[in-house]
């Protein structure tokens, strides 16, 4: 009994501390996080749609989902404002890489859509 209540308290404390820490992040970081969240949300909508309608043009489904996941991942990674970002590269280079990768991603998606 003591164990479960302590984990519950732990979970509650965890949640609260996370929330307060997150509220303290600067606004532009939160915008980028919103962008990533939106991309993943779009991917989820596509999956639900496929579950309802069936997956006939499978390549179109895949390209749609992967484009959303791809932009989410790329944005999350090139987030040079984030404190987790690796400090070895200058931000301009990171941004240029981000643009290049997005370009390649969308070209391949357009070829794959069919």
């Amino acid at each position: 009994m003591g164990r479960t209540s302590s984990t519950k308290e732990d979970a509650g404390a965890l949640f609260h501390s996370l929330r307060s820490a997150y509220a303290a992040t600067p606004v532009n970081l939160k915008i980028i996080d919103l962008y990533v969240g939106f991309a993943i949300f779009t991917a989820l909508i596509q999956v639900v749609y496929m579950a309802m309608v069936g997956s006939f043009p499978f390549n179109s489904f895949l390209s749609g989902v992967l484009s959303c996941v791809g932009t989410a991942v790329l944005a999350g990674k090139s987030n040079f404002l984030s404190p987790l970002f690796a400090k070895d590269l200058p931000p301009e280079r990171a941004f240029a890489d981000f643009v290049l990768c997005n370009l390649v991603l969308h070209l391949v998606i357009m070829n794959f859509l069919g």
Binding site: S17, A21, G70, A86, D88, L89, A94, D97, V104, N111
Partner: protein, 678 residues
């Protein structure tokens, strides 16, 4: 008189370069020489015979390349070939790896643009040596990334002449592996570079490298399993970092998307069991990223530990359940026979005789290892030792690549090729580190002597070095002796490799040579003569039945429709041909008529003593035919379990179609190649 030496010494001084520039000059000149060496050591068969395509599979690649040059990419991509697999045809556009053909045609177009009037066949013959030279360059950069530039140079030299690689990349061996090994090493190099620098640009390059590999060879499955395994090992050993996250994610998503553009691969990246490791590691990486973020957010470590435990267990559980559901419901297909037989070598012998019958798929003997690797075989463990001494993200990768590829090389002879770059790199580390240590020993003593004489005072370092030298007075001599030994070993390696290339790996196997009675050289060009006979003396729509080995060559050189060829995608069709070859003549004629065949081609070596003819392969025809049609039973053709073809052979053997065709009027020493049935 006095001024001339002064001006000469001034001249020399102006040429004298700084040490760094000297080093650069030495490195560049070594690389240029190695580049040229890798190319010319593969040219033995072109010099001895002529510039032609070797073996069986390359003929199909050559035919498709011809089609591509004549008809353009769109027609090539959508090509339906009605000239092979007679009643069925083959969707060529969707069942081949286009990388090799596209590369050759690209080189051909560039050369034509520069107004060199080459024929596409020359380009095809020389594609593999050209890419072997490029591989040596990639090996240099890879060695530089893992260890230092000395190791890179040694790796380039070792891989330029290593027989394991030469065996599949001689001039004329126009096969997927010639280009694929370059793509493999390039992808690995760029990925390790991405992990080391954490830059998106390098990961993008590795995604493109992976795309090139997927377009070139079915062995790309090795990459898509080794890289996730490597990432997993890094995660487990606590080396997670943002650089790893960036490198793997970008490579996985973009690489997967690019790979799905190849029709032959299709949707396998999300549906096949062989590719699920990559997806699992992808999700695991997201979990790690999330954990990293949470850890950064929280200040309380105890809370974080609890959170860590919960998250990891739930993530692994969810992943396991998803995988289980996928496999049980059949959505995720299990490992296909070709790759499953790598994990369980006995599987193919019992279940898939076609895979078991290919001589390249047999397990490797020690003699093959020694033959193909020579001194690299004992330098490999030495290199592993050095790698473990200096563990970093890059050396962990090369250790894993080396160990996994050596395991697979032990299972199948053909995969020695995949192990060769890893073995060369690791051995190069051993050689470079050893030589470096020895030369440091040599130099340090000189330096101590110099500083002792010029400066006159000793810091603690030089005095301790002097003490060291005094304790082992023969250290310098030992170092010199060891260096000479290393030099001797490496020169023996080079000699061995050249001998192996010249004797064993340069035969085109479509033209045979032997020594006549007076020591003159006799050339047997029988294969090509037979195919040209077919081309010139049979009607345009004639259909030829032969064993599947010769299918590609008949379509490429004879230009006639065949029943089965080397693609071996339809086991039942091959079994039908096998049944026809092993039945009595009246049963066989029924089968042959039902397939609309006009000509039967058999290869018989009784006149010349050629040992790998159809009589030698006959038991495989029986086994494959018997695998589908139980009417054919292997023991019928054996005498006391022994395979005999003389007077004492089994009666079924003496009366079957193959025997009758081969030994027709053999008593009069006549052999016929193409001959109508019945």
């Amino acid at each position: 008189m006095a001024t001339m030496p002064a001006s000469a010494s001034d001249l020399l001084k102006s040429f004298k370069l700084k040490t760094k520039q000297q080093e650069l000059l030495i490195r560049v000149s070594i690389l240029c020489l190695v580049y040229i060496l890798a190319f010319i050591t593969r040219l033995f068969s072109v010099l001895r015979y002529e510039s032609m395509i070797h073996e069986f599979d390359p003929y199909f690649n050559y035919r498709t390349t011809l089609y591509l040059t004549e008809n353009g990419f769109y027609d090539f991509w959508n090509w339906f070939d009605y000239e092979s697999w007679y009643p069925l045809g083959r969707i060529v556009g969707g069942t081949l790896y286009p990388g090799l053909m596209v590369t050759a045609v690209l080189i051909y177009r560039i050369l034509r643009f520069l107004r060199f009037a080459v024929h596409i066949r020359e380009v095809c013959v020389l594609t593999a040596p050209f890419f072997a030279s490029n591989t040596t360059l990639v090996a240099y950069f890879f060695g530089k990334e893992i260890w230092d530039s000395g190791a890179g140079l040694v790796a380039a030299i070792l891989i330029a002449v290593c027989p394991g690689y030469i065996s599949r990349s001689v001039a004329g061996s126009y096969d997927n592996e010639g280009v694929a090994i370059f793509a493999l090493l390039f992808t690995f190099y760029v990925f390790v570079k991405a992990v080391n620098t954490g830059s998106l640009a390098w990961s993008l390059a590795s995604a493109f490298g992976y795309f090139y590999m997927v377009s070139a060879w079915g062995g790309y499955v090795f990459i898509i399993n080794l890289i996730p395994l490597y990432v997993l090992v890094l995660l487990i050993t606590g080396r997670y970092s943002m650089r790893l996250y960036v490198a793997y994610n970008c490579m996985y998503i973009l690489g997967m998307l690019l790979a799905m553009q190849i029709r032959f691969v299709g949707f396998q990246h999300v549906q096949s069991g062989e590719h699920m490791a990559a997806m699992g590691v992808f999700f695991l990486m997201q979990v790690f990223y999330f954990l990293d973020w949470v850890k950064h957010m929280l200040s309380d470590t105890k809370l974080f530990q609890a959170f860590l435990r919960i998250t990891v267990t739930s993530a692994v559980a969810v992943g396991g359940i998803a995988l289980g559901l996928g496999m049980v419901s059949g959505y995720i297909s299990p490992w296909t026979g070709r790759f499953y037989s790598l994990l369980d070598p006995t599987y193919a012998k019992d279940h898939i005789p076609i895979i078991a019958s290919v001589s390249e798929h047999q397990p490797t003997a020690w003699s093959s290892f020694m033959f193909d690797f020579h001194i690299l075989l004992f330098l490999f463990p030495a290199g592993l030792y050095f790698c473990f001494k200096r563990l970093s993200d890059a050396t962990i990768f090369i250790v894993m690549y080396g160990l996994t590829s050596m395991y697979f090389a032990g299972v199948m002879v053909r995969l020695i090729l995949v192990a060769t770059p890893a073995v060369c790199l690791i051995s190069a580390i051993a050689v470079s580190a050893t030589v470096k240590n020895l030369t440091v020993l040599l130099r340090s003593k000189n330096k101590v002597v110099q500083t002792g004489s010029t400066k006159g005072s000793g810091g603690s370092k030089s005095s301790s070095k002097a003490l060291l030298d005094q304790s082992q007075p023969f250290q310098k001599n030992g170092a010199i002796a060891l260096l000479f030994g290393a030099f001797y070993l490496l020169s023996r390696y080079a000699t061995h490799c050249t001998w192996v290339t010249s004797e064993a790996y340069s035969s085109p196997s479509i033209v045979l040579a032997a020594r006549g009675a007076h020591g003159n050289r006799v050339i047997f060009d029988d294969y090509r003569e037979a195919y040209f006979w077919l081309r010139q003396n049979t009607p345009q729509d004639a259909k030829v039945m032969s064993w599947w080995d010769y299918g590609y060559q008949i379509t490429a050189m004879g230009n006639r429709t065949v029943i089965v060829d080397n693609n071996t995608w339809n086991n039942t069709h091959i079994a039908t041909v096998g049944r026809a070859m092993s039945s009595y003549e009246d049963e066989a004629i029924e089968i042959i008529r039902s397939l609309d065949v006009d000509y039967v081609l058999v290869v018989f070596g009784g006149v010349t003593g050629y040992s790998s003819d159809d009589i030698n392969k006959f038991l495989w025809m029986v086994r494959i035919g018997g695998g589908v049609f139980p009417v054919i039973k292997e023991p019928d053709y054996l005498v006391n379990g022994e395979y005999r073809v003389d007077k004492g052979a089994a009666p079924k053997m003496l009366n079957c179609l193959m025997y009758k065709l081969c030994y027709y009027r053999f008593g009069e020493m006549m052999t016929e190649y193409g001959k109508p049935p019945g």
